[in-house]
């Protein structure tokens, strides 16, 4: 009853082109952003910010990047972790070698390096498809893992192979406390989410989706497959690279290649599948789900006073995690985003069932 779009007519195409077409949605999203910017930093505990919200934001960003490639352009990638690593290491190297470069630029340049690498590893996509392509991205994953582990120049000859970042600042403002880092990440996420949404709702996005859905037909319409695929790789790796740099700089502070291992790639893939392939909001849902689930799972038994040893808890977490993935896929193969939209559909029809 409350969620109705009756009476909201779109009088112009500009209105129809809005990201959130229903007034209620628009209000809700603005409110959400306002809360995220104003209320959360004030109210959230340090732990909540550092261990939940910051990882959630950064992983959402990475998921958006990956979703562009997998969800929109249909190119399966298992090398996301490696592309994050490229962003992180590149930004770090720039910072170490040219300390004058401001942090923001460092991170964006990290993203650009990831773009370059992403495009190179995207080239096989011009010939390969599906799982065979996934293998080429796995090659990227393993090769880059190796490179960051074995090429001393990339870690500035750090003996342990792990690198760490110094004190951070954003154009003179310190970036030390949790809320500062949180706001910094939030800024990135909002900006890139809007950019990503813009891309996917215009020609670029339609080209990607066309390639995903049927590449021959796309060619017949005049879409250049090579261009579409490589731009998808480029944009996706850029966003993923930026998120990698944020992950390294804002979340970890110090890292080794293992932080961007294949597990990370799978984790991100899970996020977008659970969240919803080809959906920007879905990326947020997926990230929230994956970040929160382990935390909930470790805390819930304690709430009920069940003492679980950590290893049982971890194994149980795996079991529950795996089962939930399967259950979700069965319930709705298109992810939380689709469940969300079905929910809204029902709400719109409510109180009538169909």
């Amino acid at each position: 009853m409350f969620y109705r779009e009756n009476g909201q007519f779109k009088a112009s195409y500009v209105e129809d082109l809005r990201i959130f077409k229903v007034t209620q949605d628009r209000v809700a999203v603005l409110a959400l952003v306002a809360i995220a910017v104003l209320l959360v930093p004030m109210l959230a505990s340090d732990y909540l910010l550092r261990a939940v919200l910051i990882p959630f934001l950064i992983l959402s960003l990475a998921a958006i990047g990956l979703n562009i490639l997998v969800g929109y352009c249909g190119q399966i990638s298992l090398g996301t972790g490696a592309f994050m690593a490229v962003g992180a290491y590149a930004a770090w190297n720039i910072g170490v070698r040219i300390p004058e470069v401001p942090l923001l630029v460092q991170i964006l340049l990290g993203g650009l390096c990831a773009t370059a690498v992403g495009v190179v590893f995207g080239i096989p996509s011009l010939r390969l498809r599906g799982l065979y392509l996934a293998v080429s991205t796995l090659a990227a994953q393993f090769f880059l893992d190796w490179a960051f582990l074995r090429i001393p120049a990339l870690t500035n000859h750090s003996a342990s192979g792990s690198v760490s970042v110094g004190t951070l600042s954003f154009f003179g403002l310190p970036l030390e406390s949790a809320w500062q880092k949180y706001l910094f990440c939030l800024g990135f996420v909002v900006v890139f989410a809007v950019i990503a949404k813009n891309l996917v709702r215009t020609t670029t996005g339609r080209q990607w989706m066309a390639i995903r859905d049927m590449d021959i037909a796309a060619g017949v319409i005049g879409i250049r497959p090579a261009y579409a695929k490589l731009t998808a790789f480029a944009v996706s790796s850029f966003i993923v690279g930026v998120s990698g740099a944020l992950w390294g700089f804002m979340h970890l502070g110090a890292w080794e290649p293992l932080a961007f291992s294949l597990d990370r790639s799978f984790q991100l893939l899970f996020m977008i599948i659970i969240g919803g392939l080809g959906s920007i909001v879905g990326s947020f849902f997926g990230a929230a789900f994956i970040v929160l689930l382990p935390i909930v799972l470790t805390n819930v038994p304690a709430l009920f006073g069940l003492p679980l040893s950590v290893d049982t808890a971890v194994h149980l977490e795996h079991i529950i995690f795996g089962s939930l993935i399967v259950i979700f896929l069965i319930a709705e193969p298109h992810g939380l985003a689709r469940l969300w939209s079905i929910g809204r559909e029902k709400l719109r029809l409510w109180p009538f069932p169909y």
Binding site: I342, E345, K346, Y354
Partner: protein
């Protein structure tokens, strides 16, 4: 009145296949069939007609239980075959009982050759090599074109060849009841006639019953005994095929015949709004 006759016909015939008041919902939200009931008598050929999106394919798939694969659910009603409920059976059991569907859009196994495609049709039959050979020859006899393409991968054959392959594959199962979804689609006129001749042949000689969803109303009504017309997920009209063929509305909307006979496609000037029997 046609509907009077129809009910009489249905009452007298043995309810061989009976669809009773079926409701189908896709994806938990999209209501597609809104209480469909129909019967196919033993040895009958029944046509299911209707516009695009009326729900013909959905009806057939709810009988053959292929709906699950499309996230569709029969939420109300039931389906009986030879007196037994079949709505909970797996497609495999149905094929064993003799009910098989030829799906719309061919659905050949692209990587298998034409001959392998045909052989998969006999999966449920426990028969000797020679019997299998005979069945295969029978199909090749019906569709000589398939024989020449027998060792090509189905994915590379032409649209019409695939259609023949799909029908031939179903015949390999030696079914008692075939649900044919748009068999004529994409086939050359000659072949269309041939296919319907095959239908008639199987019906006459082997007593196979048919429920066919067809857009080619003209041909369908010529070969069918009985017909149902669907609109928007409901049966809006039913009757003996001959009667339907002479019904004015049917003539106008499904046969393209108006008072003075068939009009050239070039001359049908304005887009006519389709008359709805029910909405």
């Amino acid at each position: 009145m046609t509907s009077m006759n129809a009910t009489e016909a249905a009452a007298t015939a043995v309810p061989y296949l009976a669809v009773n008041n079926v409701e189908v919902i896709y994806n938990h939200v999209i209501l597609v069939l809104k209480g469909v009931s129909l019967q196919v008598p033993q040895g009958g050929i029944v046509a299911l007609l209707g516009a695009n999106g009326a729900g013909k394919s959905t009806t057939l798939k709810s009988i053959s239980n292929l709906l699950h694969a499309e996230r569709g659910d029969v939420t109300k009603g039931n389906i009986e075959f030879k007196g037994a409920r079949i709505d909970q059976m797996t497609p495999n059991e149905l094929v064993r009982r003799g009910v098989i569907q030829v799906m719309e859009g061919r659905h050949c196994f692209g990587h298998l050759t034409i001959e392998e495609n045909l052989l998969t049709g006999a999966y449920t039959r426990k028969i000797s090599r020679t019997e299998l050979r005979d069945s295969l020859d029978k199909v090749y006899h019906y569709f000589p074109r398939l024989k020449t393409r027998r060792s090509s991968q189905a994915g590379y054959t032409s649209g019409g060849e695939q259609q023949m392959c799909a029908i031939g594959r179903a015949l390999m199962a030696k079914p008692e009841m075939i649900l044919l979804d748009e068999p004529s689609m994409g086939l050359a006129p000659q072949i269309v006639e041939e296919i319907f001749e095959i239908v008639k042949d199987l019906n006459g000689k082997e007593g196979v019953s048919f429920l066919l969803a067809e857009q080619n109303t003209m041909v369908a009504l010529r070969y069918a005994d009985f017909g149902y017309i669907m609109e928007n997920g409901r049966i809006v009209m039913e009757g003996e095929a001959k009667e339907l063929a002479t019904n004015e509305d049917v003539k106008e909307f499904y046969l393209g015949l108006s008072g003075e006979g068939r009009k050239s496609f070039r001359d049908v000037k304005h887009y006519r709004r389709r008359k709805r029997w029910l909405s």
